[in-house]
């Protein structure tokens, strides 16, 4: 493998890191006059373009001495992460210009995203952990970047829970390394395939620790408690990034660990970890949905919704273990659909917070009269989060639930029945919000407009939600190719 092949493999991450460096240097050299926003956008575009180039050329190789692996799976996730970071950057121009540390904001965003791309590629426990920590540390600062009380409190909360989760994850890694004697995921897989039955208990301990540790990124119970507080306290665009890119990266790591390292559905412990994810999924759904019912703050509501959605996605992880191959592709499809949907929802929340100075759902009353575009996009996204056709969220839910049902296992059928019940609960708070926007009379009917970048992001999100709902076949194909690379 030549040097250029190596560079090409990690190109998308490299572009984001380089962008971060360029932003900081420009700020240092030119100060306020520098067009740091433009540099950040260029970095996002280059990263996304590079990912697409990898897709077209069709790279499938390990690089950097086996630390990372570029395949359809990592490309799929790199595309999601690159898309989200580009969307956040585009939407952030107006808001970030009011920020004292605008350059740091963009730089940290890019570093965090770059590490997430590496995370999706990681083939080795050490790489995985380092990338994960780089992502997290950048995020701790991002959450607190506005430096007011709420933001700082959220940042500290995120830091503390994140540190605990990282410690637990590392503990799980230590178990894996101790038993398998290697940090390479493929090496662990080889060991698991021939592991004696006596290793069942330590292995179970290992994957419980791993699931709890990585569950922090996915906002999955029992590592979910930070989500509402941190979403509420952090700037809306940072919350966008956390809720979509961070969740996608978390699931990516979980899939790499549980499919590649633990051998997917073929090993003697796959039933065990499948059932564990079934329990975690059920708990996440009920905790998220009942929590969201009473919320009056838009970002807190989306925080609980994010926990519930993590539960929905985890149904796909549980399905895998029962030998259902549709599971991993269902998870990947869901992540794609969730990305376009949640970005749209959060960007509207950010816009409203900016223009109205409020995050209370009551203040969304009559939004359709004040900014029809924002109200329609947010309604569409909420309908998609509920899972009503013809939106992406509907296809995603049906995909994942169907995967679980096809396995024929009783406990998975029960899980799906429970998930359907939860969807009914979620319809209540999602559609109530839609109702407020469309039917209630606004207290103040002055119209407002979004900036060009925000309008663009909202348009892309709305088109994506409808496109993946009406013609999901291309995304389904991509998700299946990605899943095939994983297995």
């Amino acid at each position: 493998m030549t040097f250029f092949d190596q560079v090409h493999a990690v190109g998308p991450a490299l572009a984001l890191y380089a962008g971060a460096g360029a932003v900081l240097s420009a700020d240092l050299l030119q100060g306020r006059r520098a067009s740091i926003w433009g540099l950040a956008v260029v970095a996002g575009v280059v990263s996304l373009g590079w990912t697409l180039a990898q897709l077209i050329v069709g790279v499938e190789a390990g690089a950097l001495g086996g630390a990372v692996r570029v395949d359809a799976f990592s490309i799929y996730l790199a595309a999601i992460i690159g898309g989200v970071v580009l969307a956040v950057t585009l939407a952030a121009r107006e808001w970030a210009s009011t920020l004292e540390q605008a350059a740091e904001f963009y730089a940290l965003l890019l570093v965090s995203a770059g590490s997430m791309v590496l995370l999706a590629q990681a083939e080795d426990l050490i790489t995985l952990f380092v990338a994960l920590e780089t992502t997290s540390i950048a995020q701790f600062i991002l959450v607190g970047i506005t430096r007011n009380d709420r933001s700082s409190e959220a940042g500290l909360k995120y830091l503390l829970t994140g540190a605990v989760a990282a410690a637990i994850l590392l503990y799980g890694f230590a178990f894996l390394f101790g038993m398998a004697g290697t940090t390479s995921l493929e090496g662990i897989a080889v060991w698991v395939a021939s592991a004696p039955e006596a290793q069942r208990l330590p292995l179970m301990l290992a994957f419980v620790f791993v699931a709890v540790g990585i569950g922090f990124k996915m906002a999955l119970v029992p590592s979910h408690a930070w989500a509402p507080d941190v979403y509420e306290g952090s700037p809306a665009l940072v919350a966008t990034f956390l809720s979509v890119a961070s969740k996608a990266a978390g699931f990516a790591v979980a899939m790499r660990l549980f499919y590649t390292a633990l051998g997917g559905g073929d090993t003697f412990i796959s039933q065990d970890w499948g059932k564990m994810f079934a329990v975690l999924a059920a708990l996440s759904m009920i905790v998220g949905n009942t929590g969201a019912l009473l919320q009056t703050n838009a970002k807190r509501l989306l925080g609980y919704s994010s926990i519930a959605q993590a539960g929905n996605i985890a149904v796909g992880l549980a399905a895998v273990a029962a030998g259902s191959t549709a599971g991993p592709s269902g998870v990947l499809f869901f992540l794609g659909a969730y990305a376009v949907t949640n970005v749209g929802a959060f960007v509207v929340v950010s816009l409203v917070a900016d223009r109205l100075g409020s995050e209370q759902i009551a203040d969304y009353a009559g939004l359709v009269k004040r900014s029809p575009a924002a109200a329609i996009v947010l309604s569409l996204c909420l309908v998609s989060l509920t899972g009503i056709p013809p939106t992406a969220g509907f296809v995603a839910k049906v995909y994942v639930f169907n995967a679980a049902v096809q396995s024929g296992e009783r406990w998975l059928l029960a899980l799906v029945a429970f998930a359907v019940l939860n969807t009914a609960i979620s319809a209540f708070y999602y559609l109530r919000w839609v109702r407020t926007m469309i039917l209630d009379e606004p207290r103040d009917a002055t119209p407002f407009r979004a900036s060009g970048g925000v309008q663009f992001v909202l348009a892309v999100s709305a088109v994506g939600v409808l496109l993946f709902g009406l013609d999901p076949s291309p995304l389904i194909q991509a998700a299946q190719d990605a899943a095939a690379a994983l297995l």
Partner: protein
């Protein structure tokens, strides 16, 4: 051809919306042209329809979502059950444009919504895939909601919201039911599911049966799920009442015949007594409430609850005769109640009141409107030689053996309906001339005459020559009846 039927109104709506504000008044011409064209298309389809074979005709299909472990298709097709309903839809859409001729508040939006409504309902009658069916079922809510809440009268926003919530609650359950069936059978194709009804599902089929049935019973509607209907009717503009009573209620009956019975025949047998009881009660209770109404439009609305009970009664008999009766009743009730709402609208336009107590002696001033009102009323109470008679008789013949008590109750409902119709006619049309109404004009405008004429022709035509309808309906009902009888 069917896809064209589905898309023509949407094309009309787009053209209407694109009109410049100065020429907004021309929207009605566009709407009439497109609904007229669509009606012509429906008639051609009905004539060409091959009455020699069972099953779906004019089928068009392509795979829409595939590869994710399940397949969702776009499939449209008609059989003997849906073909008459498509003609009815074409007819009533045209009539509803005619009776809206004087709408001048935001006309281009109004007619665009009306056209979209036609497309949505057409989608429900034509879809042969459960998910596609559901999409059109939901799509119909949007135009209805806006038509009632923007162009209605009285407590229009409240009524529109009530309509929306009732239907949404029902359809959420329906979607869950569809998904359970689809997951179990690995297909959403109605034709395939009819051939091999689902056996193993994650939720007991009895629950699925009621989840889906509830959505259709809300739409039909029957007691106690009907309370949205009088409000929606009373506050809706005339054209929307015509569409609502004429075709939207039929979506409920159609869904039961097309989806519930063929896919879950065993459960239909298990619960046929329950359904018959609801139906019998609904007929009588609806008729009694109708008797007490003081608002002319509410009166017609409640009479619909009573009359749609016949549809459920025919269904609950689960035999070929009863099912045919239900299908016939859907068609004839569409024409008759459509006409009644047209007449109520015309009376209201002239007298500006719907209070029965304030109306009297209208026959002196408006002989034509009065006469047509009487024709519609007589058809509604089931006078022989009109379409209502054929349908009701068939329902009773079909159900008397299976559910004698419910049938007797329903026959009593006919007596009550004769009561409220004749009493209403007596109160508002006859009696001495009053000074209040001395300057009223009769229906003279061409659009009013046309709207009345086509519906009267349809009602009397199918009454004296029922074969034009029954031959086709039988073709659609027989395969369903076979499945249901085989399951008993």
């Amino acid at each position: 051809m069917l896809t064209l039927f589905l898309l023509l109104p949407v094309a009309g709506a787009l053209i209407a919306i694109a009109l410049p504000a100065a020429r907004e008044g021309e929207a009605k011409v566009i709407a009439l042209a497109f609904t007229g064209l669509n009606f012509a298309l429906a008639v051609v389809m009905y004539v060409v329809f091959d009455r020699g074979v069972e099953g779906y005709q004019f089928v068009e299909r392509f795979e829409w979502i595939h590869g994710a472990g399940f397949t969702v298709q776009y499939v449209v097709g008609v059989d003997g059950l849906s073909a008459p309903l498509i003609v009815l839809l074409g007819l009533l859409s045209m009539v509803s444009v005619l009776v809206s001729w004087k709408i001048d508040v935001k006309p281009k939006h109004y007619f665009a919504w009306l056209l979209i409504l036609e497309s949505a309902v057409a989608g429900v009658f034509l879809s042969l895939d459960l998910i596609q069916f559901f999409l059109f079922w939901e799509l119909e809510l949007l135009p209805m909601f806006f038509l009632i809440s923007q162009w209605g009268s009285g407590r229009r926003v409240y009524s529109a919201m009530k309509f929306l919530i009732y239907t949404l609650a029902g359809s959420a359950l329906m979607l869950v039911g569809f998904l359970v069936i689809g997951f179990g059978a690995k297909t959403f194709d109605i034709e395939a599911l009819t051939k091999t009804p689902p056996q193993e599902t994650i939720v007991p089929l009895a629950i699925v049966f009621w989840a889906i049935m509830l959505a259709f019973l809300v739409k039909l509607p029957v007691f106690p799920l009907h309370t949205w209907l009088p409000d929606a009717h009373t506050d809706a503009p005339t054209a929307v009442s015509v569409m609502l009573a004429g075709v939207l209620l039929k979506m409920g009956g159609y869904g039961i015949l097309r989806i519930v019975l063929p896919l879950m025949p065993n459960e239909a047998h298990d619960f046929s007594k329950v359904l018959a009881t609801i139906a019998g009660f609904s007929v009588v209770w609806g008729a009694v409430i109708t008797l007490r109404q003081t608002d002319l439009k509410r009166l017609v609305a409640y009479s619909s609850v009573s009359h749609m009970g016949y549809v459920l009664l025919g269904v609950s008999a689960l035999g070929p005769v009863g099912l045919s009766g239900a299908a016939l009743q859907m068609f004839t009730h569409g024409c008759i109640t459509g006409l009644l709402f047209v007449m109520v609208g015309m009376i209201y336009d002239r007298t500006h009141t719907r209070e029965i107590a304030k109306l009297r002696g209208l026959m002196h001033h408006m002989p034509l409107i009065g006469t047509v009102f009487i024709v519609a009323g007589l058809a509604s109470l089931g006078l022989p030689a009109m379409s209502g008679f054929v349908a009701e008789l068939t329902v009773f013949l079909g159900s008397i053996e299976a559910h004698p008590a419910a049938t007797m109750a329903a026959v009593f409902g006919v007596v009550l309906s004769a009561g409220y119709i004749l009493w209403t006619v007596e109160r508002i049309l006859h009696g001495p001339k009053t000074h209040d109404f001395h300057d009223l004009t009769d229906a003279k405008q061409w659009w009013e005459i046309t709207a009345m004429a086509v519906l009267v022709v349809a009602i009397i035509g199918t009454g004296i020559w029922p074969a034009v309808l029954t031959d086709t309906v039988r073709l659609g009902i027989e395969p369903i009846a076979k499945i249901v009888e085989a399951a008993s």
